[in-house]
């Protein structure tokens, strides 16, 4: 069994009457890319801020590397790299100076630092912009600078809080690749996001938060297994009648059936030959159909089914 890097137990944080974190437990193991998934306001950033000992909390305990985390746990902080949701760099310093500055807070040896900074520059592909001031950088570059500042000192634990908000797809892919790369070189990663695809693509284990509660946790497959849906079948059809729908719904393993006038959507749970059986019904009644899709469940389906909510990509938390 791998070592537990972060252990959050029974964490409660209140803002007045509002309960931001409700008895949260999380265990993050060494070498994982742990995804914290949840809609805006679900408590992801609050969790991160408590984890970093920036926020006070009402109850519970937080351990990192097996020790309790406090504002003065400098030996722990030394091994953490943080990339906040908001870009935190000095406007008055150039790209290189910013990375050097933040790296210098962790590494005092000059020689070593220079090598680390150069590596971080290479990692974030900022080589052409070293002398630029942050104000002159585009959104994607700024995010990359933000990340470079956070990881230059090669931390063992990297915490990324929605690092890809408002980043164009190319930059986003570069960032995600970078995170994988960091992970493969030995870092444990905590990653929060409300982009399903990112988390699905990146994370080895995922926890879903809603209203400050952890409502599900596990690997992608484990999460998908938690839900009823195993297959969604969609068929383009014109002129389907109510009686046909009832017939399809009566088929084994089918638990939901929907028709909007042009597309039939059938949700199935388990079973093997669902598509053939449905198409059989259609042939029986001599109904012509167009394209047919069969889809496996996504995290989105998981999320939808567990929270009953649609996850949206809009706005910022808080």
């Amino acid at each position: 069994m791998e070592n537990t890097i972060v252990k959050i137990s029974n964490l409660v944080k209140r803002y007045g009457d509002l309960i931001a974190l409700d008895h949260l437990d999380l265990d993050i193991k060494e070498g994982e890319i742990f995804g914290l998934l949840g809609p805006n306001g679900s408590g992801k950033t609050t969790t991160i801020n408590c984890l970093l000992s920036l926020l006070s909390f009402d109850k519970g305990s937080i351990e990192i590397f097996g020790k309790e985390m406090t504002p003065v746990s400098y030996d722990i902080k030394k091994q953490i790299g943080v990339i906040m949701q908001n870009v935190a760099v000095f406007d008055q310093l150039t790209v290189y100076e910013n990375i050097d500055y933040f790296c210098g807070l962790y590494v005092s040896d000059k020689q070593k630092r220079k090598a680390l900074v150069d590596e971080a520059v290479e990692f974030a592909k900022l080589g052409d912009f070293l002398k630029f001031y942050p104000k002159k950088l585009s959104g994607g570059l700024l995010r990359r600078l933000n990340i470079a500042c956070g990881i230059a000192h090669k931390p063992k634990l990297i915490i990324l809080d929605e690092p890809t908000v408002a980043v164009d797809p190319q930059s986003r892919n570069k960032i995600l690749e970078g995170i994988k790369q960091l992970n493969s070189s030995g870092a444990t990663v905590i990653y929060t996001s409300h982009y399903m695809e990112e988390v699905e693509q990146l994370c080895t284990r995922i926890a879903i938060l809603d209203n400050g509660k952890k409502i599900a946790e596990g690997t992608k497959d484990e999460l998908k297994r938690m839900i009823k849906n195993t297959e969604t079948i969609r068929i383009e059809i014109l002129g389907l009648e109510e009686t046909h729908l009832k017939e399809i719904l009566a088929l084994p393993h089918v638990y939901n059936c929907n028709y909007d006038g042009s597309v039939l959507t059938v949700s199935c749970s388990g079973g093997k030959h669902n598509l053939i059986r449905i198409l059989g019904v259609l042939q029986e009644h001599d109904i012509a159909f167009g394209r047919v899709y069969s889809e496996l469940p996504t995290l989105n389906d998981v999320f939808l089914e567990i929270t009953g909510k649609v996850l949206r990509d809009k706005g910022n938390e808080e």
Partner: protein
């Protein structure tokens, strides 16, 4: 680590244009304005050029004529006399060409157009003359043999009054506006102090949050930042004083090295004060900067930056306040250097500044360190 932090803090500070504007350019502009407005004022107030007066001789009065002669004629004498007739004199008075009209007849009389100091001086002159007349006539009536003694006693050149100048330095009252300008510039260091807070508190900026996550002990980071501020503010103070003394040619006394020292000490106190004031409470950066600037300007007002004799008024109503108002203490330091040959008072003021700096810094660090925040 400390020097790494310090280096970057200074780099950032020097590149913060608006901060440098306020700390360097604004005092320079204000100093220029003061120079324009107050440059000539003192010489005007202490101007004792002859008072223009018209004399109308209605009847020959030998004694009065000789009295007039003795106080007029040269450039540094008391009166500038124009002999003329009654109508012309009235015209001159109306046009403000002369301050008063003295008519000498049987009785010497004075006519003026308004109340004022020069008018009062004329009145004194006429009164003195009439008094002497009266003393002599009284003497004549009581003991005519003593007239000569009385006359010689009256016309004695020996003055019973010993004039002592209170100080040896520059007594130009308007220079105190420049003392206060230095105090204001010093207290503008609060803006630097605010910068420390903003960059080190997680609830004020993302940068603060990031710094809080770093393994640098807060006290170390804060002291590096404080040192950086002190150095930046020292630079600003040196620029300000140099500009006042060597470009505007303001006379700040002859112990210039100590003037620099006092200004720098004041600047450092300003930084510490800003650090302390802005570490109180958790409100937005904008509010904090508004509050600190308001506090600074109010202190400067009470020290006489806007109304010159404000400090005198405070000395009358609440003398203790001048002892703890940083703006007043800073301007007093420079004032002491100008006015006192010994260092007793100067040292007291400098010690006050040092104490304030220590207290403000310590309280500021105490309130900023080791903190978790209730909300971000």
């Amino acid at each position: 680590m400390f020097f790494h932090d310090l280096k970057y803090f200074i780099k950032c500070g020097l590149r913060s244009q608006d901060l440098m504007f306020w700390l360097i350019l604004f005092p320079i502009a204000l100093g220029g304005f003061f120079k324009v407005a107050f440059g000539d004022l003192y010489s005007q107030i202490t101007d004792t050029s002859p008072i223009p007066v018209a004399v109308v001789s209605e009847k020959e009065n030998q004694i009065f004529s000789s009295a007039l002669e003795s106080v007029s004629g040269s450039d540094d004498s008391f009166l500038d006399v124009t002999f003329t007739d009654r109508d012309t004199a009235a015209g001159l008075l109306k046009d403000g060409k002369v301050t008063g009209v003295i008519s000498s007849g049987d009785k010497v009389s004075l006519t003026v157009a308004e109340n004022g100091l020069e008018q009062t001086m004329l009145k004194e002159f006429v009164e003195r003359f009439r008094l002497n007349e009266k003393v002599i006539s009284d003497a004549a009536s009581s003991d005519p043999t003593k007239i000569q003694q009385a006359v010689s006693a009256l016309s004695s050149e020996i003055s019973p009054v010993k004039n002592v100048k209170a100080i040896n330095g520059n007594s130009d009252v308007f220079v105190q506006y420049f003392y206060n300008l230095i105090a204001m510039t010093a207290l503008y260091g609060t803006m630097l102090g605010l910068k420390i807070c903003v960059e080190n508190q997680a609830d004020l900026s993302p940068l603060g949050a990031r710094k809080c996550c770093s393994p640098v002990p807060k006290i170390k980071g804060l002291s590096a930042a404080l040192c950086g501020c002190f150095i930046l503010q020292t630079l600003c103070m040196v620029i300000c004083v140099t500009y006042l003394v060597f470009i505007l040619k303001i006379d700040l006394g002859n112990r210039l090295a100590l003037v620099y020292l006092a200004s720098i000490a004041g600047g450092i106190t300003g930084v510490a004060m800003g650090f302390f004031v802005s570490s109180i409470g958790s409100i937005s950066e904008r509010m904090k900067s508004g509050i600190t600037l308001g506090v600074v300007m109010f202190l400067c007002f009470l020290s006489g930056l806007m109304v010159g004799n404000m400090k005198g008024v405070i000395a009358e109503k609440a003398p203790w306040f001048n002892k703890i108002n940083p703006a007043a203490v800073i301007s007093d330091c420079i004032y002491c250097l100008n006015f006192y040959s010994d260092y007793r008072r100067f040292i007291t003021k400098m010690l006050t500044l040092a104490a304030m700096t220590l207290i403000f810094s310590a309280l500021g660090i105490f309130m900023t360190r080791r903190k978790k925040y209730a909300s971000l």
